[in-house]
């Protein structure tokens, strides 16, 4: 049997984290959670998951900042990232110049977006799609 794919959820809302964790676990993934960006980064570096689900608006450090760190770190930059947020992603997200680093580097696009409120089936379908690539 294929080993379970590992997903890390970074979200300051424990309810969202638990929701996504439960949904993933029910679908046969191993799901770990972190309540802030700093914990998230160390967890990712340690666990090397297949996928990271990242909330954007978190106190202290935003999901965008964490995304930039992941994509700038050669060790983990190939890990897939999905953003989940209450932002209207199609509209608001484009306005954040988040892929452009101060040193001129252009980061790749994230692997997916999902907007809150999250529908479990839609979320799981996206996760499956991203991991099949």
């Amino acid at each position: 049997m294929e080993p379970k794919k590992k997903v890390i959820i970074v979200d300051d809302e424990p309810d969202v984290a638990l929701f996504l964790q439960t949904a993933l676990e029910d679908s046969g993934y191993t799901a770990l959670t972190a309540a802030n960006a700093a914990d998230g980064l160390s967890l990712i570096q340690r666990e090397r998951p297949a996928l990271v689900c990242l909330d954007i608006l978190m106190p202290q450090e935003s999901g965008i900042s964490l995304f930039q760190k992941i994509k700038s770190d050669p060790e983990i930059k190939d890990i897939a990232v999905i953003f989940d947020s209450g932002l209207s992603l199609a509209r608001d997200f484009e306005r954040l110049d988040y892929r452009h680093l101060p040193d001129g580097t252009m980061l790749p696009e994230p692997d997916g977006f999902i907007e809150k409120p999250i529908d479990a089936d839609g979320f799981l379908a996206l996760v499956e799609r991203v991991l099949a690539r």
């Binding site: 809302e13 309810d15 929701f19 996504l20 809150k116 409120p117």
Partner: protein
């Protein structure tokens, strides 16, 4: 002497012989071949003095010798009668101009023994002539004398200067550079009717320039009705024409300007008679200009203040917003600016510009409306955002419950149930907040210890403060008297302020922030103060913190906190103020003067303060 003379009565002959000589209004002197004056009549003596024993040249000209071209000498030679213009000196030494007739007197041998000089004074005539000449030459208009052939006999200096020296040529050649006479020739008309005529002509000067002339022709007769010449006097009105053209243009320009002006223009004379009423005025008052021009209707179109201004002649008047009456009795809001018109010192009326403020007002209204709509939109967006989070929690809860039940895991089902409860709680709080804000609620006033309320809030946040690394401390006021307040309300206020302060600390770059919650009473004013050393607020944010749904916290805030806080504080007769420096922190103060606090007893506070 003819035979008639011999037949005259003796006394007449005697009078002619003696008295005529003396009384004739000429100067008569008889001179011999030595130029000595033999006899002179009374007139002569009056003018030149007694000439007896003197030579004529001494008498006439004060000379010592015979004149170079002496006419008398010639007549002594040839016996001819001569007439000459002479200039001499009268007995008073003044130059005298006179015409002299010299006639010979023959002796028995037929020789000219003496000559008779008869002269009359033309000094005055001469000077008149001279004056007329000067007048003719120098008058600042074209003067020419034209004969019946329409040839110019004489022309003055200005004609020569302007049209060239052309005496003898036809007037139409000179003035108009034509080869044949003009059809409307004023000189011909005068020759025909003998009357003075006036006309306007266009001439061409020696440089080919068009010259507008006003021409007056008059018969030139020395006496009676017979005349052979016409005198033509013309004035160059080219400049006046030009001026009039320019005036016309100017007038046209002003007309276009006033007609197309956006603002209504109404001008009246000093009697209130309307003389300008432009297109914009027609539109503004819904009245045709033709119905008001020339009528005394100033009070209908101009504000009374301005009519008073015209009345007392003081300069100008600007009314940023006033009202005038429209045709149907409606009132129109206008911006008015008017000036009193003067001719030198005299007030001749006034002109006023009226800017219709209705479109502006409309715009203003639309702007307010759109701002309100934007605010509503913002509110809805914020609400939607808040609801999204709660909805996610609810969905999550349902999912986890379902998942737990499916897996037979009580633990997981319980967790999911908790999520549902928590999120239902959140949405309940949110709705409550809305309701309490929008409807207003009635405070339950009872004497409370302000220290105790504040300390409760501090304890409530102690854990999270520690987690966030914020130093949260409380400073009470020892021995403070109880204060009549709604405990829950004040608690809510302090929770809002402390929660804001903690957020400000989190947003700050300073990792060792502190929040101080302080209670104090100074001069019967009870004060709660929340001070933080967090990120602070810039001017823009500071100005908007008390506005509904304003939040800098993204999904973390409903934007209701400070709005609700302010409302509660006001219901307690207090006020809220804020001091903030970006990067250094903020202080929010709630101040409640004791004499304005509500009296204990439910429902009391609102009524009391509404009555105030």
């Amino acid at each position: 002497m003819n035979a008639d003379f011999q037949s005259l009565p003796a006394e007449v002959r005697n009078w002619i012989g003696r008295q005529l000589f003396e009384h004739v209004p000429n100067n008569i002197a008889v001179i011999d071949r030595d130029f000595s004056v033999l006899i002179a009549n009374e007139n002569f003596r009056v003018v030149f003095g007694d000439p007896r024993g003197k030579r004529c040249y001494e008498v006439y000209k004060g000379r010592k010798s015979v004149c170079e071209q002496c006419m008398a000498a010639l007549t002594f030679e040839d016996g001819k009668v001569r007439v000459n213009d002479e200039v001499g000196t009268d007995r008073n030494g003044r130059p005298a101009h006179y015409v002299v007739h010299i006639a010979p007197v023959y002796d028995e041998l037929g020789r000219v023994s003496s000559v008779i000089e008869m002269s009359y004074d033309v000094t005055e005539t001469k000077s008149l002539q001279k004056e007329y000449n000067i007048l003719f030459e120098r008058v600042p208009c074209f003067v020419s004398v034209i004969n019946r052939d329409l040839r110019i006999v004489r022309a003055n200096g200005l004609v020569r200067d302007t049209f060239g020296e052309k005496s003898g040529e036809h007037c139409y050649e000179v003035y108009k550079n034509r080869t044949e006479r003009c059809t409307d020739c004023p000189a011909m008309k005068t020759f025909a009717d003998g009357k003075s005529n006036r006309s306007e002509q266009v001439g061409v000067d020696r440089n080919g320039r068009k010259t507008h002339l006003v021409v007056v022709t008059a018969p030139l007769s020395r006496s009676g009705n017979e005349f052979s010449h016409v005198i033509e006097m013309s004035t160059d009105v080219t400049d006046i024409h030009k001026l009039s053209d320019e005036l016309q243009k100017e007038h046209e320009f002003l007309r276009v300007l006033t007609d197309n002006a956006m603002d209504a223009l109404v001008a009246v004379d000093e009697k209130g008679v309307v003389n300008v009423f432009n297109n914009a005025a027609e539109v503004l008052f819904n009245t045709k200009a033709s119905e008001v021009i020339g009528r005394a209707r100033s009070e209908q179109f101009l504000p009374q203040e301005f009519l008073d201004t015209i009345g007392n002649g003081s300069g100008s008047l600007v009314l940023p917003e006033t009202v005038v009456a429209a045709a149907q009795g409606d009132e129109i809001a206008v911006r008015f600016s008017g000036s009193v018109l003067r001719d030198a010192e005299r007030v001749i009326g006034g002109a006023g510009f009226l800017q219709d403020l209705r479109p502006l007002k409309q715009l203003e209204q639309e702007k307010i409306e759109s701002e309100r709509m934007a605010a509503v939109g913002q509110t809805v967006a914020q609400l939607a955002h808040g609801i999204k989070n709660i909805l996610t929690g609810l969905q999550g809860g349902m999912y986890v419950v379902k998942s737990g039940m499916r897996a037979g895991s009580e633990d997981r089902t319980a967790k999911g149930w908790e999520m549902l409860e928590r999120n239902v709680g959140r949405i309940t709080d949110m709705v409550k907040g809305f309701l309490s804000f929008s409807k207003g609620h009635i405070p339950k006033v009872e004497p409370i210890d302000p220290n105790a309320v504040a300390e409760d809030v501090q304890k409530l946040y102690a854990d999270s403060a520690q987690r966030m690394g914020v130093h949260l401390c409380f400073e009470g006021h020892e021995g403070i008297r109880k204060v009549p307040m709604d405990r829950e309300d004040i608690h809510t206020c302090l929770v809002n302020l402390v929660s804001n302060a903690m957020d400000a600390c989190q947003a700050s770059e300073n990792k060792k922030c502190s929040v101080t919650l302080r209670v104090a009473e100074v001069e019967n004013v009870v004060m709660f103060e929340v001070r933080d050393s967090g990120c602070g607020m810039d001017y823009e944010i500071k100005n908007r913190v008390f506005t509904t749904f304003f939040t800098t916290k993204g999904r973390g805030g409903t934007g209701l906190g400070l709005m609700v806080t302010r409302k509660i504080v006001q219901q307690h007769g207090g006020k809220i103020s804020v001091d903030s420096t970006p990067g250094q922190g903020s202080v929010f103060r709630l101040e409640f003067p004791r004499d304005r606090l509500p009296l204990p007893g439910a429902g009391d506070a609102k009524d009391k303060h509404d009555l105030k």
